[in-house]
Amino acid sequence: MKIAVSSTAPGAEAQVSPIFGRCNCFVVVDTETQAVASLANPALGASGGAGIQSAQYIVQQGVQAVISGNVGPNAMQVLNAAGVDVYAATGGTVAEVVAALQAGQLEALTGPSVAKDFGKGGPMGGMGGGRGMGGGMGRGRGL
């Protein structure tokens, strides 16, 4: 089975990323051959639709499962449509979460675990300062 893990860096010892669409890297592990391939996320810098583009990219890699800290609604819809199983992992290295999946210890996600734009940071990228959860629609109106 080929498993794609959203990760913070390349390699099997990298940490699983808490985000999917804008994660730094996808590490694809083939559990039969033990082959590990690290792929840069083509959607990392997308101004919008990062989840859609990265999910399409992962489907094109022919994986059967995805492990990520969280997955947003658009990415989830793409992965579901393509029949890719999605599992949540709150921490650990790529190697550890793949082992956990094989041991049946990971929770399968059937719906998105976070709202749209969860991992969309400010202009410098990354989580933290940006929008966080929930749709930030405020415009500071009022008299």
């Binding site: 959607a43 919008g48 639709g49 859609i52 999910a55 399409q56 393509a82 109106r141 008299l143």
Partner: protein, 295 residues
Amino acid sequence: MRLVIASGKGGTGKTLVATSLALVAAERATGSDALPALLDADVEAPNVALFVRAEVSETVAVERLVPVVNAALCTHCGRCAEVCQFNAIAALPTQTLVFAELCHGCGSCALQCPAGAITEEPQPMGRVTLGQAAGLRLGEGELQVGEAMATPVIRALKHEAQRRGWDGEALTIIDAPPGTACPVIEALRGADAALLVTEPTPFGLHDLRMAVEVARDVLGLPVGVAINRDDGGDGSVAAYCAQEGLPVLLRLPLEREIAAAYSDGQPLVTALPRYRPTFEAALDALLALAEEARP
């Protein structure tokens, strides 16, 4: 003659200023054929109608085109997703998914599809309402809840007003959305002058600078400034205007009565007629600014 009331920062008093300027213009025009028009281009939260009650005569739907994939013709080549600049399409091995809320309606996918499997179909995104109040024509654009792009609705509002000849000889005042992004640029485009409403605070100054960059420097419009809640602040807004040679055409004090009238849905010149001369002078000054710049 088209005047746009814009601001940069939200909540500085665009609608407060636009409604009173329009009412002053309406009083002047009474009896003539060419009624002035007030267009509410703050389509994400239009509120002019709360202050100037109009009889609605017409509602026009605003639509945008979104791609629809014919699954029987699709060869899953992925070209549509490749050309989409907004990642609105996911091309999967056996399915093509369209995320309409991300689509900007550019039409590239339909144009590039080698199988002719994509057609563009209209999807409602908002509406334009046209009507009339005492001595004033009123137009309002409203973006449908859930839609992300305000610009096409603002364009439609201007287009519908223009199509009905509202623009010709008469004065049109546009209440622009806040900010300095595409919707504001669409509201400002084609204006004869812009009045930028600000407040004497560091935030007010920061966003005024950006609004000046857009209206004066990018679009080349004659620009005047209105300082609302003018309690002096730190004086930096007035200093900036002096330094940039921007005329301050209107000053409104920080006054409880003004806020109370606004909260009550009353236009300022109606609730507090003592401000009428202030708005008459501001309108004259703005018109003069626009006239001066005409070739």
